[in-house]
């Protein structure tokens, strides 16, 4: 077995040193009745593993062999080969959480840089080292808010928040005595400010709004901030397509207390939906309630700049059931990928990616809008994703197009059974005009 570096002679010597006669003796503490060998096939060689998994991989349509317009929380953006190949380095790939700073400065400094990038993009003060993904990041933002506004039990969520985020919130809240109020979107596709404000009361600890929202519509962060602050609640800005942060007014400027969500689109491949990259940023005043790991700058014994994990008294390994979160392992390597990506793109590149995505989405929208039988239901401006409504049921049409190499969009019926005509179309800098024209032609045919 190629992963086991113990020769037979070594094993014999080791057993002798331990003073037992067989390895089995070391398992004496396990009751014999439960020692049952698994019924698995014999070991597979590397060649066979490549055939087996390569075969499974080849059954899937993917972004490199299709005209690709899927989004709804996971986006197909450009990732440089530098970011991709850097992750192969054993020093990044095979190290643990940087508990020992003297031999983990690489990881620590990278996290510190990641925290900085997130702060700059969101215009917030403090960001953590990552969370699992967008939905649990929202949960953590809500729970953090609840701790900061003690005694209130209700969270108000715009229905423009990704449905799987909202479902996750309900899962987490169900046994904590916390309540969720969802405020439906207006007919224009945006959160209605009056309706949102009306849903907030003195039992509300947080108001969360997503922008671009799940239908791709750009929300004004102030809608949520004003509704929250009017009643002393925390305001949470949710982001599921983080590329938008480079073009749209950031939540920090609008006065949000917490910005959180999904940063996959900043340097992380789609990975069939995971690993993704949750993030959470907040104000300095609230930093002691932030969940997850934090890296801080400090000095070493010689007075040189160094980095280490800090404020760990918030965390489960010290505070146990009183911790700010139960999270331990986070998404370290994805935060590194994103740090590399954001560093490469920087000020201009992130903006250009966002601007191109938007312009191409607008082109796509305008192409579809002119096809007889097809409409763009939401009147409000969108960023790089938008709902379309067609003359035929969406899911079967999308299946047909997929067979022809066009992954045209995500049907809203997935989360809303009754809505069988609408689907979301996402466009990024990776889409060519030719692909968009092909999509439009295919939809025109379907009409």
């Amino acid at each position: 077995m190629k992963f086991l570096p113990t020769s037979d002679a070594d094993r014999a010597e080791m057993l002798a040193a331990i003073g037992v006669s067989s390895v089995d003796d070391l398992f004496a503490a396990i009751p014999a009745s439960v020692r049952i060998a698994p019924d698995l096939p014999p070991p597979m060689s590397e060649i066979e593993i490549r055939r087996f998994l390569g075969g499974l991989a080849s059954k899937n349509a993917h972004a490199r062999d299709t005209a690709f317009f899927l989004g709804a929380g996971v986006y197909n953006h450009y990732v440089s080969a530098v970011a991709d190949q850097m992750l192969y380095r054993a020093e990044w790939l095979t190290s643990y959480t940087p508990y020992q700073p003297e031999i983990s400065q690489g990881t620590l400094q990278s996290i510190f840089e990641f925290q900085t990038h997130i702060c700059l993009l969101t215009a917030m003060d403090v960001a953590n080292a990552s969370l699992y993904e967008g939905a649990s990041a929202l949960v953590e933002g809500l729970l953090m808010s609840e701790r900061l506004v003690r005694g209130r039990r209700r969270a108000v969520l715009s229905a423009g928040i990704h449905p799987e985020y909202r479902e996750t919130v309900r899962t987490y809240f169900q046994n904590l005595g916390l309540e969720v109020v969802e405020v439906p979107l207006g007919a224009d596709g945006a959160t209605n400010p009056a309706a949102l404000a009306a849903a907030v009361d003195d039992t509300t600890f947080a108001v969360a709004v997503q922008s671009p929202n799940f239908r791709g519509v750009i929300e004004d962060w102030k809608t949520g901030v004003d509704a929250a602050h009017a009643r002393g609640a925390m305001s949470i800005a949710v982001v599921a397509e983080a590329v938008s942060l480079a073009l749209l007014a950031p939540p920090g400027e609008a006065g949000a207390d917490i910005a959180c969500g999904e940063a996959q689109s900043l340097g992380v491949p789609m990975h069939n939906g995971g690993p993704l990259l949750g993030f959470l940023a907040c104000r300095t005043a609230h930093q002691r309630q932030i969940p997850g790991r934090l890296v801080g700058e400090t000095r070493d014994a010689d007075g040189r700049r160094a980095f280490c994990l800090t404020l760990s008294t918030r965390e489960q390994h010290i505070r146990r059931e009183k911790a700010t979160s139960n999270i331990c392992t986070n998404q370290g390597l994805m935060a590194l990928a994103s740090n590399i990506h954001m560093s490469l793109l920087g000020k201009k590149g992130m903006r250009e990616v966002a601007a191109q995505s938007h312009a191409k989405a607008e082109y796509c929208k305008s192409r579809i809008a002119t096809i007889p039988g097809w409409r763009i239901p939401d009147a409000r401006p969108t960023f790089n994703e938008f709902a379309v409504a067609g003359p035929v049921p969406a899911a079967p049409l999308l299946d047909r197009l997929a067979r022809r190499g066009i992954l045209a969009g995500v049907p809203l019926s997935r989360w809303d059974r009754g809505n069988d005509r609408e689907f979301l179309v996402a466009v990024t800098e990776m889409n060519t005009r030719e692909e968009i024209d092909r999509l439009a032609a295919a939809l025109a045919e379907a009409a």
Partner: protein, 515 residues
Amino acid sequence: MSVDLENETEKAAPGKPLGDRLHPEPRHEPLVFERSGAGKVGYSLPALDVPAVSAIPAELLRTEIEGETEISEVEVARHFTRLSRLNFSIDENLYPLGSCTMKHNPRTNEEMARLPGFAASHPLAPEIVSQGTLELAWNLEQALKELTGLSRVTLQPAAGAQGELAGMLMVRAALTRSGNPRRTVLIPDSAHGTNPASAHFAGYRVKELKSNARGTLDLHVLEEAMTEDVAGLMLTVPNTLGIFESQILEIAEIVHAKGGYLYCDGANFNSFVGVAKPGAMGIDVMHMNLHKTFSTPHGGGGPGSGPVAVAERLVPFLPRPTIERRPDGTFTLDFDRPESIGRLRTFLGNYGMFVRALAYIAAYGNRIGEVARGAVLNANYIRAGLAGLYHLKYDAPTMHEVVFSDRKQAEHGVHNGDIGKRLMDYGFHPPTISFPLIVHGALMIEPTETEGKSGLDAFVAAMRAIAAEVESDPQIVLTAPHTTPVRRVDEVGAARNLVLRWKPQAGNDGSRDRK
């Protein structure tokens, strides 16, 4: 360095510390922001092939991202290569971080996870063009079922802690359906911090159970605590002392007798995977850390993956969706699970880790018990090598890890943290020192099965040398490490004077490197 030179250079530049004279290069790497400079770029994009339209009202737009980088690809590649070299990794040497299972990460698995059919696939693509991704996940569930001896598995949790929460939410849902969710969860004092934290977020109060003198759970302590208000017991098997609860069957009986559920923290599954089945032990629900037992890389702190296996009676409550095989052999997601606890995150989970874990299980197949056998052998070998020199609070049989303490060394003023730092000078990562909390000054050593005898011998020799230094030369240990990229880091100062990010200031954006 040779003694001659020391004298020589001392003569030539008196007063200047020798190290500074010999090693003039600052080992410090500036922040990526400090390497920025106006006009540099690190990316390239195609020219826009559609009209450069913006349909966004001005008030919704931002201005430039102040402080963001302007830097070339060359510099970024070098920056991250240099940073990486400041890290210790498994591929450098033994990484005996107890409870973390720092084992070799097979590179085939990396290759497989990066196939475009996995890495560039989208979780919301139509099922008819996603049969490969579904089949793989289904296969992984089957393998984990077989290894745990339990009925079904959810792959959704993103890491062990989220798996714990998922598991406890299922317990709670089952109890709720039976009429009473109950209020308390029992957790031994040796448990990892995520256990109480997860129980808390599942809405439970935690009652801590004191371990006995053998480091395990006393049946009468459990019996006393296990009332009908107790939802269940969260037990780490083997526990964080590396000790297997040999009365596991009796423990299960006691818990079940009171209508409770036995939760197994499977972080230590590496010590018995393929050797024994948790299902047979009476365990009802168990999370696994794919990034431990199943060798998906730790990545400097994740991503992980924390599948949860459950007994039949918890199946209805599994997170949504489940992955099902239809009679015709095709695969589909089942969202129609009315009793499900719901979802814990978006999509199917950390899918990239599923690919790696399945590749790993496939490579071992029915010989996967050798993993556990190797891990247990190695831990016992280290125990034998260090017994007597380091204090062993609990001398029950060791499974995959052994927890010594610094009691002997503390007499010389040297603590577990110091010993760990000194190990760095010998080329090793320190053991876990922050827990288990019931061993004061713990040195929790988990070598894993992917370490050979020569590496273990070198580690034992280093630990023995340090024990000797503690007596002859404690100062060298107390001021360690001496050979690392930075010297001992001021963690207290970091928490006292919080600097959690770089801030753009006039002049420091792209200006010269900070010292």
